[in-house]
């Protein structure tokens, strides 16, 4: 079966008398896919991430990972399959050095020391941090800490990796570093990747986008499909890329832009094709 993460009519609230943060959420994610979950702050997207590895449990409905419904009894098995990188680079760095931190997840799984000594440099290499093995966290930039966090996830070879706003606190350079790292990792493995984000570059890079609004799935589709709904997206507080805005303006002036361009190159090609017809 190819459906790997499934949400079936999932509802959730943090307290008995509080309003629901998720209402009847229903979607699935296939193996090896890269899915971006977007939505304004408070739309329920981070709650989804925490339901996927049993940090929270659904109030009603089912969350399945690799076919199994997540519950109290199998939560530790689920966590072995689902790696997670959080927003604040400092508050997830457990080790006193980079090496200790990358090893933390492996230590928890009881992996023999010799294997860890081999795995740590391997994982650090995958995120281009191999030169920093002995470094202490306060000597690293935010982007470097997040790359170490990704290495810590890779070291335990999970099937899924969730980035829960992992770039939100970084500067543009740090974001760029993480996006490149994630792209490489995704290409070189069959990891299923779920990124929860506001960053337009991250959204464009994904295979599919799930848009959340007020605790409900508001739209599902490819980045191209999502960004063709410019008006509606900005109504729910989300941004669209510059090229999507420009496409809209060109269309309103009667220029027939065929495909929905996603980046500068596609837009320029489109203009090149259109040029003779203008």
């Amino acid at each position: 079966m190819s459906e790997q993460v499934e949400f079936r009519n999932v509802s959730f609230r943090y307290q008995e008398d509080a309003p629901r943060v998720l209402k009847d959420v229903d979607f699935s994610i296939d193996r090896g896919e890269w899915v971006a979950i977007i939505g304004h702050n408070g739309s329920g997207k981070s709650t989804i991430a925490k339901l996927m590895n049993g940090l929270l449990f659904a109030e009603s409905g089912e969350v399945r990972v690799s076919g199994e419904v997540i519950g109290e009894e199998n939560v530790w098995d689920v966590r072995k399959q689902v790696g997670m990188v959080f927003q604040n680079p400092d508050n997830q760095f457990v080790g006193t050095t980079v090496r200790d931190d990358v090893a933390f997840g492996m230590e928890n799984r009881g992996i023999p020391r010799e294997d860890m000594l081999r795995k740590v440099p391997e994982s650090l290499k995958a995120v281009q941090m191999e030169a920093y093995e002995e470094h202490e966290p306060h000597r690293l930039s935010g982007g470097q800490k997040q790359r170490v966090a990704i290495a810590g996830v890779l070291a335990v070879a999970p099937d899924y990796m969730i980035l829960d706003e992992a770039t939100a606190m970084l500067d543009p350079k740090g974001r760029q570093e993480i996006l490149e790292t994630v792209r490489n990792v995704q290409q070189e493995s069959d990891l299923t990747l779920i990124t929860i984000t506001h960053d337009l570059n991250e959204i464009v890079a994904a295979d599919r986008v799930i848009v959340m609004n007020e605790g409900e799935v508001w739209f599902e589709g490819t980045p191209r499909e999502v960004f063709s709904h410019k008006e509606a997206l900005s109504r729910i507080g989300l941004d669209v890329p510059f090229v999507a805005k420009l496409t809209e303006e060109l269309r309103s002036q009667g220029v027939h832009v065929k495909e929905e361009p996603l980046n500068h190159e596609e837009m320029v090609e489109e203009l090149w094709n259109l040029r003779s017809k203008m």
């Binding site: 702050n41 740090g174 941004d239 510059f242 805005k245 303006e249 002036q253």
Partner: protein
């Protein structure tokens, strides 16, 4: 109040093995009532720079002048208190500085420290709440019961209640969602206009600098790398790329249009609709050869 840096050097831990020069021969001038943006990578000296504006740091060499206040290397500053009342700094993630039981008390904290009278403080709290678009009823709530975005507004209100003439903003939109970022920047711009503030914005966003600032300073490794009117500075694409900074997206795009289609479109802050019009008319002309 105008703001002037003259040949400022700042060295952390001088005379130790950890000695580190964070500012090097730095000069800049921000005229009274204007909006300046400071851009640079983490570690380029931006945060050292802004801490000089209200005397949290004293230059190792050189002079900083804020209105009538002068902070000089090696001289004790007697009017630090008055200077700090006139310069409001909104630090990164300002919500981390909240501590009082109620929103009202927290906003009143600054004015109280500067000896403002009770009745006046009450008025200022109300004004500050209005300026950051929070409702009057908020004032009796605990700041810790609010959402992240609301907490940030309370913290900003606390700075505004000091009635500063110079407002320094250190990445004030970090961590907000796109709508929140836009609302926040528009709020600051409105305040800047209404109150005639001198505003210094530290940002990573070239787009914000282009939209709001009258002048921009690009920092690199503690030195001033470029300076000028934002559009003029951002048109120097090669120089920006030399220090690994992005070019505002619209300029990067027009560069690609020029390279691929041989059509040069001058950007002069026109709207997207106007830009689309420019594009269609330029391309429609179709000078034929490829």
């Amino acid at each position: 109040m105008e703001l002037t840096f003259k040949d400022v050097n700042y060295i952390y831990s001088p005379g130790t093995p950890f000695e580190y020069r964070a500012l090097e021969n730095f000069s800049m001038h921000v005229p009274s009532g204007s909006f300046a943006a400071v851009i640079g990578h983490t570690g380029s000296g931006k945060s050292t720079l802004i801490q000089h504006i209200n005397g949290l740091l004293q230059p190792t060499e050189g002079t900083v002048q804020v209105g009538g206040f002068v902070i000089e290397a090696g001289k004790k500053n007697k009017h630090l208190r008055d200077l700090r009342e006139k310069t409001g700094i909104v630090f990164q993630y300002p919500e981390h500085q909240l501590f009082e039981e109620t929103v009202e008390k927290d906003i009143a904290f600054g004015p109280k420290n500067f000896g403002v009278e009770e009745a006046e403080i009450e008025q200022r709290v109300a004004d500050a709440l209005e300026a950051v678009q929070l409702s009057e009823e908020m004032k009796d709530k605990s700041p810790f019961d609010l959402s992240g975005g609301q907490m940030r507004r309370v913290a900003i209100a606390g700075v505004l209640a000091m009635k500063p003439e110079v407002l320094v903003l250190d990445e004030p939109t970090a961590g907000l969602d796109p709508r929140g970022q836009k609302e926040m920047m528009e709020m600051f711009y409105r305040l800047h206009e209404q109150e005639g503030l001198t505003t210094v914005l530290v940002t990573h966003s070239m787009e914000d600098a282009l939209t709001y600032a009258d002048s921009v300073v690009i920092m690199n490794e503690g030195k001033k790398f470029m300076e000028g009117e934002p559009l003029e500075v951002f048109k120097q694409k090669e120089q920006l790329r030399d220090v690994q900074l992005d070019v505002p997206e619209v300029l990067a795009f027009l560069e690609k249009v020029e390279n691929r289609l041989g059509v040069a479109i001058d950007y002069r802050k026109q709207s997207l609709a106007e830009l689309a019009k420019d594009l269609t008319s330029e391309l429609g002309r179709g000078d034929g050869h490829e």
